[in-house]
Amino acid sequence: MSHIIFGDKRIGLDEGQTVLSALLEQGYDIANSCRAGVCQSCLMKAVEGEIPAEAQIGLKDTLKLQGYFMACSCKPDTPLHIATDANEGLQSSAKVIEHKLFNKDILCIRLKPEENFEYNAGQFISVWKEAKVGRSYSLASVSGLDDYLELHIRRISNGVVSNWLHDEVKAGDILQIRAASGNCFYTPGMPEQKILLAGTGTGLAPLIGIARDALKQDHTGEIHLVHGTRHVDDLYMHQTLLDMTKQNNKFNYLASVLQGDENQPAVSSVSIDKQLIDVAGDIKDCKIFLCGDPDMVNNLKRKLFIAGASMNNIHTDPFIASNS
């Protein structure tokens, strides 16, 4: 049995127990959300001891080198000494400059960071309500094109942060945010490659970011974006995307709506995977980004792989709901 030292307390770990679970069990109020090693809300810093590799998967090198790790996926074999107050330096302030609804469920927030904020469009940042409650949202804005950060926030019933952002936060407020992370973003180097982007709900946010970033970086290959929703009323930024299609001959937008109103432009009830395969040509060479509901992301990934997509070319960002 191993143990951790947290502040001046020694806390034993059961076989296979995570640092997060042990601390919560001891009554510590530790910020956390997905509990799946993705959102990085439970980031902690080790000052001494060996950090298991799986507790640092997906972290930036700069964070790794400083000893940061995710408590929810950390099961140390040897004693680990953890700092109690390491996270203040991670957060920065940003002012709300726009707060408007896209539709009845989805809010668009634009933030102006108070200091230089580096990110790639499509990555996610976390927004913090109080010190311990953070949630991750993907960036629809593009660094170098937009002088603000844009987030799309779906209202979750009983969602602590989403309801707060919808109902209480207003333009002019200052929010606490934490650095961008995630692997879903455009990488230059193969400008002629065909790009397929697909997502449901606010999975559209990172996809728009990635598409605009690719166009900004003079991508020459076709870019196809498919947005899937249950109902035609759940679509948002529909006109913006139609306009983007008109303005860029490389960009193409399609909506896949379960209960479709096929009279609208670009709206069809054909499933997302069929639409993608239809436009893919040789899918083996396409670069693919899938964002949004985890079941949808995993299903699509499997279907597209079976259809011939290369695993190395599929990038996913499943929006894992908070478990805290």
């Binding site: 995993n298 499997r302 079976i306 695993m311």
Partner: protein, 121 residues
């Protein structure tokens, strides 16, 4: 004489084979239910490890890992017929990549050698 692993192309052969092999497994109704709900990226890495081993390459596969890794599947009914199907898919993958018949046989023999560990016997 060059080793089996060198002959078929080493790491590059593993990379070329893994997508084809995994795709065949996922569309094979005899075995694909065992792959439902697994993380595909993790699975691809495991399959690379498996292919490296059966290609006679450097690996850290142990009988214990094989047993542990498949225990929950044996409880769900994994048996000889499923191992046969996997080896069949492996053979078809290698044929597609133009690997010589006797090398395919040698690879199938290595795969067969871990059958009892996989099935926890």
């Amino acid at each position: 004489m060059s080793s089996l692993y060198e002959r078929i192309g080493g790491q590059a052969a593993v990379d070329a084979a893994v997508d084809i092999f995994y795709r065949k497994v996922l569309v094979d109704d005899r075995i694909n239910e065992f792959f439902d709900g697994v993380d595909m990226d993790q699975q691809i890495n495991k399959q690379k490890g498996f292919l490296t081993m059966v290609f006679g390459g450097p690996n850290e596969y142990t009988g214990k890992d094989m047993r542990e890794g498949h225990k929950h599947l044996v409880e769900r009914g994994l048996n000889d017929s499923h191992v046969d199907a996997v080896i069949e898919n492996l053979g078809a993958t290698l044929q597609e990549l133009g690997v010589a018949g006797e090398d395919i046989q040698a690879i199938a023999d290595i795969a067969n050698s871990v059958r009892d560990d996989v099935l926890n016997r």
